[in-house]
Symmetry: C2
Subunit: 192 residues, 2 copies
DNA sequence: GCATTCACCTAAAGACTTTAGGCAAATAGC
DNA sequence: GCTATTTGCCTAAAGTCTTTAGGTGAATGC
């Protein structure tokens, strides 16, 4: 019998594509084996188990997004950087819904820290360099941006904004305008 | 044999509790049947299938959150309303992680529209009454708030902010300060 | 050319889902 | 209060997915 040439990496990439096609939830070792025309048990030499496979797909997606974000950030600053950075997340989620869902999967802290998580945080901080925020406000802002990007993609995907005016594209532009304004004018202290 | 007294409603409530205990993903017809000391097949007279069960749990959670939000909003306006409203979502997610995860589950548009979805949007609009936003800016703001609440709970749950200073509580307070400031000072037009 | 390693296989057991059909408890009609 | 119907839960069975154990042939190393 000819060998199929399975590797963890090939499984993960195929799993990511499968996720985009049929949804991350539906990615299953069985389906993946079918794609490779291989018996399911064969996957278990390359991947610990089904959970492990999904985790790897999530890490792969996070890495891919971080690469794109790094690219987008190069040579930009201020609002230009903010918009380019934000668009990476939104575009990725629209282009690769399954991978984006994977990236939103809860990872245990150790795994997340070993993956591209810190890189994302670092790049968000880089975006904020264009604004004038000292710690701890910068961290708050990093978390706000993360929440917005994450939440917006998630709601957009769930169809929250579709079929109603104004269209999602316009909202996205205006939200970035608003975030830019907010970052330029970050409230100094807590107002009770 | 004594009857267990199953109803769709009791199944959904038990499913919601189960979700909080073991995670929404892990909620399964089999496990639920075990809790009721009943055979799995018996559930299928009350619930179409496993997907239907999960959808109902999601709708239940959304309803519960909407009820709490309505309560929190009564008699409040301005930032007071914003904070109370936002806290409902965050507190609910911390108190009921499984249900909150259920509420984040993608629903098909028709199902979402028939559930508490519109109520949430309506209440968010009510919060914005305390600020001075005309359409379509109000809609953009509704979507921004939804994204932030949704995204923050999700990241907080995933452990994104834990184990690092400043603590999540402080960030939450400052994010609400920032959103309040932003809504009071919403940028009028797109700045290219 | 032989031994080892590695890639994929078969086999099997356990869990979850879903459908079909049956019996007994609850309810309704008289 | 008895019968008839409905309803609630059951058994049975087939299908899918996961995971482990152990086997066989293909690739690699000496």
């Amino acid at each position: 019998m000819a060998r199929a040439g399975l590797t963890a990496d090939r499984l993960v990439r195929a799993g990511a594509e499968l996720a985009d096609e049929i949804g991350f939830e539906q990615v299953t070792a069985s389906e993946l084996a079918r794609r490779f025309d291989v018996k399911v048990a064969s996957l278990y030499s390359h991947v610990r188990n089904s959970q492990d496979l999904k985790t790897r797909i999530a890490l792969f997606a996070l890495e891919e997004m971080a690469d794109r974000a790094a690219d987008a950030l190069a040579g930009r600053a201020g609002k230009d950087a903010l918009v380019a950075f934000a668009d990476v997340y939104r575009d990725y989620a629209r282009e690769h819904p399954g991978r984006a869902a994977a990236a939103r999967m809860p990872l245990d802290p150790a795994t997340a820290a070993a993956g591209a998580g810190p890189r994302h945080a670092q790049m968000t901080r880089a975006v904020l360099r264009g604004y004038d925020l000292a710690e701890p406000e910068a961290t708050h802002a990093v978390r706000l941006l993360g929440s917005v990007f994450h939440g917006y993609s998630s709601l957009e995907r769930a169809g929250g904004f579709s079929h109603s005016a104004p269209d999602s594209e316009e909202t996205w532009i205006r939200i970035l305008d608003a975030l830019d304004a907010l970052l330029r004018n970050w409230p100094t202290a807590h107002t009770p």
